[in-house]
Amino acid sequence: MYDKGKVLLGLAIFLVLALSVVGYNMTAGDNKKPEPEDAKLKGYTACVKKTDYMKSSHMVLLNQWRDEVIREGKREMVETADGSLMVEKSLQNGCMKCHTSKVKFCDTCHQYASVKPYCWDCHLAPVEPTDGKEAH
C-alpha cells in the first residue's frame, strides 16, 4: 500500500506553493524599486538630519516630535542639519513644506515596502499639488 497518487498530489501542491512566489512576480510585471520624487528641498539648504538617517529612521524622529509636542508641549523649532535655518516640529508645517506631495514622496517607498504608517489616521493629508486625487 503505497498511496502513490496521494503522495504525488501532495508533492505537486507543495511544489506549486513553493514556486508560486516566483510565478506571481513573473506575471506581475514591473517590480523595480520606485524612486521617491518630490525629494528636493524648497527654500532650505538641508533637512533636519542627514539623508541616510532620514531614510532609515524618519519614523523615530516623527514619533519623538509627536511625543514632545503633544505630550510635553515642547514646540520649539529645530535646526536643519547644516544649522542654516529653523524648522517647525511638525509633519504638515515642517516636513511637508518641502515634500509637498504625500503620494509622490511618502507613498512611493511605503507602498513598495508595504508600510502603512498611521500618521494619516489623525493628520489630514495635504491637497496634492498637481493632481489631488489621492488626497483624503
Binding site: M1, D3, V7, V21, N25, L62, A113, S114, P117, Y118
Partner: protein, 348 residues
C-alpha cells in the same frame, strides 16, 4: 553539556554572516548565492525525503485507536478518535495539524506524597500552548515576509500587518507575533533545560534548531527596531532573488546578512533533521488511516506466499498429544489403539 555545541554553532553562524556581510563582494555570497542554494536544498531535500518515505509501503492498518470504534447502533462511536470513514480521518488529521489535538490531550503524572505516595494525573497544557503559539506566530511571520518577495505586494498582507501591529507600540510598529514568537521559543528552550525528563532525552540536535530560530527572530527584531535597516534596499535584493534577477543594491547593514545566513542554515538543515515532522505528519500511518480493517481488505505487498495459514484443526493435529497430556480439551480425541488399526487397514 549537550547544549554547548549548538550554542557555539549558532554564534559561529552569526559571526560568519556578520563578517561576510560587511564588504560588498562577500555580501553577494551570503545575501544572494547562499539563500538561493538554501532554497533549492530545502525544496529538493523535502521532495527527496518524501519520495524516500513513499518507497516503503504501509503493510498494515495501524491507526491509533483512542476511542470507541464503530460498533452496534446503541454504542456511541468516537468518530474522530477512532475514525472509520475517510471524512472522519480528514477531520482527525485537520484537528491534528491545525490544533495539535494529541498534544492538547497531554497529561502529566506526578507523585502526590501523603500517608502513602499516590500517583496523580492532571492535564498539562503548557507544551501545547507554547508549541501552538510558536508554530502559528512563525507562520504569521513567514506570511508577513512575503511583502519582501512580491511586487505589487500580495493583497491581504496589509490587513495581516495591521492586525499584527494592532497595539501600535513604537515606530516602526512592534508586531505582537514577534513578541509571542520570541517568548514561546524561549519557553520551549527553557523547558528542555529545566524539566529533568526532557533534559535527559534532549540531544544537541534538539537545542540547535531552537537556538537557530531564536537567533533568526532576534536578528530580525534588531533589524527592524534597533538598526532600522534600509527596507527598500533589502526589498530590491529579495525581489532579485525571486525574479532570478540577482542584484546587490549595496548599503545594507551587516545584521541583514546575519539574518539571511541563519535563515539559509535553517532551510538547508530542515530536510535532514527532525524538522521534517512538518511534512511527516501527513504521512503518519497512525493518524491518516481509517480503522476499517474489517470492512476493507488491506493488502500487504510483501506478504510471503510461502507462509500458509495454520488452521486450528492443523494446530490441534500437530499438538494433540501435548494438549491431552496437559488436559486441554480437544475437538478430536486421540486415535484409540483399535481406531489406529482400522485406519491402517484402510490405507493398506
Amino acid at each position: 553539556m549537550k547544549v554547548l555545541r549548538p550554542i557555539i554553532a549558532v554564534i559561529a553562524l552569526i559571526v560568519a554572516g556578520g563578517v561576510l556581510g560587511m564588504s560588498q563582494g562577500t555580501q553577494m555570497l551570503v545575501g544572494v548565492i547562499l539563500p538561493s542554494i538554501a532554497f533549492l536544498v530545502l525544496i529538493v531535500g523535502i521532495i527527496r525525503k518524501v519520495i524516500d518515505w513513499s518507497k516503503s509501503p504501509v503493510p498494515f492498518k495501524i491507526p491509533t485507536t483512542c476511542g470507541q470504534a464503530k460498533s452496534l447502533s446503541f454504542i456511541k462511536e468516537d468518530r474522530f478518535d477512532c475514525p472509520t470513514s475517510k471524512s472522519d480521518v480528514i477531520v482527525r488529521m485537520f484537528l491534528e495539524i491545525f490544533l495539535f489535538r494529541s498534544l492538547f490531550r497531554n497529561t502529566s503524572a506526578d507523585v502526590k506524597s501523603g500517608d502513602l505516595p499516590k500517583l496523580h494525573y492532571g492535564p498539562s497544557l503548557w507544551l501545547w500552548l507554547f508549541g501552538i503559539l510558536f508554530h502559528y506566530t512563525f507562520l504569521t511571520i513567514v506570511f508577513r515576509h512575503l511583502r519582501l518577495f512580491t511586487e505589487p505586494v500580495l493583497p491581504g498582507l496589509a490587513l495581516l500587518e495591521y492586525l499584527d501591529g494592532f497595539v501600535q507600540i513604537g515606530a516602526p510598529v512592534l508586531y505582537q507575533s514577534d513578541l509571542i514568537f520570541m517568548g514561546a521559543i524561549t519557553a520551549l528552550f527553557i523547558r528542555r533545560l529545566i524539566m529533568p525528563q526532557v533534559r535527559y532525552i534532549s540531544l544537541g540536535t534538539d537545542y540547535f534548531p531552537l537556538l537557530l530560530i531564536f537567533a533568526i527572530g532576534a536578528t530580525g527584531m534588531l533589524m527592524r527596531h534597533y538598526f532600522r535597516v534600509d527596507i527598500t534596499a533589502i526589498k530590491q535584493l529579495t525581489m532579485g532573488l525571486v525574479t532570478l534577477n540577482w542584484a546587490n543594491p549595496g548599503n545594507i547593514h551587516p545584521v541583514f546578512f546575519m539574518h539571511v545566513t541563519l535563515v539559509s542554515t535553517l532551510m538547508i538543515y530542515f530536510p535532514f533533521s527532525k524538522l521534517m515532522h512538518a511534512v511527516g505528519i501527513f504521512f503518519s500511518p497512525t493518524r491518516n488511516m481509517a480503522n476499517d480493517s474489517r470492512a476493507k481488505r488491506h493488502i500487504n505487498p510483501w506478504n510471503d506466499p510461502n507462509i500458509k495459514p495454520h488452521s486450528y484443526a492443523a494446530y490441534e493435529d500437530e499438538f494433540r498429544q501435548f494438549m491431552v497430556d496437559a488436559e486441554i480439551p480437544v475437538d478430536k480425541e486421540l486415535p484409540s489403539a483399535s481406531a489406529a488399526e482400522t485406519t491402517e487397514e484402510v490405507t493398506a
